[in-house]
Structure formats: C-alpha cells, structure tokens
Symmetry: C2
Subunit: 207 residues, 2 copies
C-alpha cells in the first residue's frame, strides 16, 4: 500500500500490529477515527497510554488491578484458603460472572508453550508455589483451558506442589448445559461418563 501521508501510514502501521488486524482493517479503523470528532481519538490514545503507564497487578493474585491488592483479594468475605489457578483476567471475569465461586484466584499470565517461547519462568508459577509452601492454601483448583499447553501447565505446577498437604482439583469437563448429546465430541462425552456425578448432587446444582 502506498500512502499519500506519512502520518496516516504510521497510524495504519501501528494499528496493524494488533492481533487479527491486517493493513486493510487498520486503514478502515484509522479512517473511521478521522471522521469522528477529534476528542474520540484523544480519548483512545489517552486510555491506551495511561493503561500501559499506570496499570498495576495485584501483589497477591497478579490480576490486573488499579490498586496494590485487588478487590477480590481484599474482600474479607472471600475464602482465602481456596485458590483457582487461571490463565488471565478474562478467565477471572468469566468465573466471577457465574457467582458460584467464593475463593481467590491466581493469575498465571499465560500458559507454558514452547512453541511461543513461553516457559515457566515467564509465568507467576514461583509465586504460587511460595503461597502453597506457606501453607495458606487448602485447595487449589486448576481452571486452565483444556489444551495441551493448559494440561502441561497444570502438570508442571502439580509436580512442584505435590509433596505439600493440600487438595488439588480441576474444573469439570463434560457436556455443556443445554447441549444435545449427539453433537458432543467423543472425548468430552467420554470424560463426562467417567466423571459422572451422583444424581442427588446434580439436583442440588440445579436448585
């Protein structure tokens, strides 16, 4: 693409560095901004700048936060001996939305992925192991996504903490609520049979 303006070219280039946004989409977005009031572009630029400059990560769970200790970790009503290990803030938001969880989180910041050059030292695993060593955690729930990388990460953490006295669990895999059996993949359906639950418990969950 040849641009008639260096400013435009530069804005399009920087926009196209975002994942899933090619040059054409970037140009469309930038032209849209040019048609909107100048204040909108200013707000976007400021929001991105101050996010990057002032963002903090909770000193306990490593979630994104505006303060040193995030709202969840600072909440006295939360069960601090129950910790759910997740990949990033999106998982925290998803689980919070269920209103079914009253423990704390530990945000790893990604998963072990040799293909992408992400090793254990790039994640907050060491801090999690320290917490376990201090004996403050009663149960650890692994809630990583069900991929090879997720399983690897779970297993790596498990090896480091298995000698300590605590319960470990993973979230249940199975047929989604409302899904038809015939459309489920074999592995999920197989797991949902192996890990079947007493009928009485399922009644309780529905209520």
């Amino acid at each position: 693409m040849e641009f008639s303006s260096k400013l435009l070219e530069n804005a399009v280039y920087e926009m196209s560095q975002l994942p899933g946004i090619g040059k054409r989409t970037a140009l469309r977005l930038v032209l849209h901004l040019l048609k909107q009031p100048e204040a909108q572009t200013g707000r976007l630029a400021n929001a991105l700048g101050s996010l990057r400059k002032d963002i903090k990560f909770c000193s306990n769970c490593h979630n994104i936060s505006d303060v040193v200790l995030c709202e969840i970790c600072a909440n006295p009503k939360r069960d601090k001996s129950l910790v759910c290990v997740v990949e990033d803030i999106r998982d925290v938001m998803a689980i919070e939305n269920t209103s079914q969880y009253n423990g704390l989180y530990h945000v790893l910041g990604g998963k072990i992925s040799p293909m992408e050059g992400i090793g254990p030292q790039d994640l907050t695993i060491q801090s999690l192991v320290e917490k376990v060593k201090n004996g403050a955690i009663r149960e650890l729930i692994f809630a990583m996504s069900s991929t090879m990388e997720g399983d690897t990460t779970n297993f790596y953490i498990y090896k480091q903490i298995q000698d300590h006295e605590l319960t470990t669990s993973t979230i249940a895999r199975g047929i989604a609520v409302g899904d038809e059996l015939e459309f489920a993949d074999e592995i999920t359906l197989g797991r949902s049979i192996i890990h079947r639950i007493p009928f009485e418990s399922s009644l309780k969950a529905n209520g």
Copy 2:
C-alpha cells in the same frame, strides 16, 4: 462485563468504539498490548494522536495529505483537466495502484446517504462544482461505488454541472478480468453486454 480495573475498563471501552470491534475483541486487543513492550502502546497512542492533530487535507482534491497541496495535485506531469471523483482515500490508492490513470482526483469524503444522515453539504461537492465553473476541467470521471448511494451522489453532482461544457463519464462496469461468465450476476453481465467495446480496443488494453 465487570472489570477489576477502571484503567482497563476505560481502554476496552474506547477500543470498542471502533467499527466492527466488540467488547470481547477490544479486551483481547488491550490485553495483547499489555503483554507487549510498553513502547509499542506508546507508539500506537502517539501515531493516533498526531494523525488526528496534524493531518491535513489537500486544498485542491481534499485527499489526506501531509502538505497543503498533495503529491498528486502538485505533480506537473499529471493531466489537470481530467478529474476522477471518488469517495475516499482508499479509492485513490486503489486507482493509483493500477498505474492506468494520469489525471487528478476529487475526494468527496463519503457519499450522500440519508439513512446515515450524510447530505450533500457534508461532502466536498461545492468545491467540485466551483472547479467545474472555473472551466479548468475537461473531463469528469465518476468512480463511486455502484450502490444506490453512489448513484445518487453521481446524479446529484451531474445535475449541478450539466450546463457546463465538459465530458462526464463513469468507470466501466462489467465482468472482472479472470472471472467466469457463469458466476457473474445478471445485472453486471447485462451491463457488460450493453456497454460492449470494440474488439480492437480490448486488444490494446491487454497489451
């Protein structure tokens, strides 16, 4: 969505104001930026800010430009009596890429669209009419997209300039080069038959 950080929420909100970017995509983009070096976010914010602040529009053709008179309008080798009317800079870039056009452009900045609240006064039509009145234009090529809005805009401009002595034309509509006839829509195929061209001319265009 409930966010643990106002900074994050704000950045996601501003990002989701862009067309075609919902809250989830915005969150993905913002989290991506957080994982990249801080300099990248700074460059994006700066590029957008200075684009909006310092961008100029060519005083003659209204194309986006860094200078008062854009490169195309300032080029002495260009035929200044031939003007191609287009919607925005993307059309200029597309036509320039063909290397088949040696005239100037007139960028309208959109098309007349009552549905979107865009009237003739929101476009640079008045400036085009002035140019025609000054008698500097020998031929006007309408190269708007072939939609109802595009046709309306063409017709609106045509009505304003029809009493002046100049040639008007529109770009040819027809079967795309390399396309199979059987997959073409009837309207396009019909037009390509009505506006058929002498075989000798088509030989020249191929060479």
